[in-house]
């Protein structure tokens, strides 16, 4: 899932500006694959342990200490943002998740601008509920 030009991005209520895109990736941390005595193909597959990774890519301006100083791996925070099909609030949808930052990486480009990639792992409140909620 990818969200281009998301709006109103906050981390623990603090605005996170100049975010170009947010991606949501899901994958199985552990797969259960069972075979029978009847043949070579699995007869049961399940993903009992999964992870939801949320990645934010944003532009950095020169010397932007603000929120950047707090974006350290291991920090847990509430991430929220909205998207809408156009510039109005019509059909806007809100997304939220509790995340733990796993990496905050900065790439410096030749023209002097920089891009920050913020990688996070979403945390479920119960283990059973989806860590990424859409309202």
């Amino acid at each position: 899932m990818i969200f281009l030009n998301p709006q109103n991005i906050t981390l623990d209520g603090q605005p996170l500006d100049r975010v170009r895109a947010i991606t949501i990736s899901r994958r199985a941390d552990r797969l259960v694959v069972e075979h029978s005595d009847a043949g070579p193909h699995p007869t049961f597959v399940d993903a009992p342990e999964q992870r939801t990774t949320i990645t934010l890519v944003r532009d950095l301006t020169t010397g932007d200490p603000g929120v950047n100083a707090t974006l350290n791996p291991g920090r847990q925070a509430s991430l929220a943002f909205t998207t809408a099909p156009n510039a109005s609030d019509a059909d806007a949808r809100s997304f939220s998740a509790t995340v733990v930052i796993t990496a905050a990486e900065v790439d410096l480009r030749r023209d002097g601008s920089a891009t920050q990639t913020l990688r996070t792992l979403a945390v479920s409140t119960t283990g059973a509920s989806d860590p990424f909620s859409i309202t």
């Binding site: 009847a38 399940d46 993903a47």
Partner: protein
């Protein structure tokens, strides 16, 4: 589909059977004492069959009800003909042990991997 003594205890999920080593029970040299220079052949090994698989429950209660039934039957030493998924039969097998793996898995389904052991006990 498999059964032990006519009971289908494990058919909620996939499972497999393998026969464990057969032949004679032997004692290698130097086991009993330093002057034991030859292999001692004791008795024929008991026929032992290992089953590995996964129980799948419709929900938590269903899964643990299956586990409880299997525990009861293992403690009662349920004995009879073991019929595997390919209709191969072993007579006089006793369900002696059911060992779940270290965790129940909760994904799309609630499931539990296990190992079960059957032995044809000497009369």
């Amino acid at each position: 589909m498999s059964t032990i003594a006519g009971q289908a205890l494990f058919n909620s999920g996939p499972h497999r059977f393998v026969i464990k080593p057969v032949g004679m029970l032997i004692v290698p040299p130097l086991t009993f004492d330093p002057i034991q220079t030859t292999t001692n052949v004791i008795v024929p090994l008991e026929l032992s069959i290992m089953q590995t698989g996964r129980l799948i429950g419709a929900d938590e209660a269903d899964l643990w009800a299956q586990v409880e039934l299997i525990r009861t039957q293992a403690e009662a030493q349920l004995t009879g003909t073991l019929v595997d998924n390919n209709a191969i039969q072993w007579t006089g097998m006793t369900l002696l042990r059911f060992a779940p793996e270290d965790r129940a898995d909760r994904g799309r389904a609630v499931s539990l991997a296990y190992r079960a052991d059957y032995i044809r006990l000497a009369p």
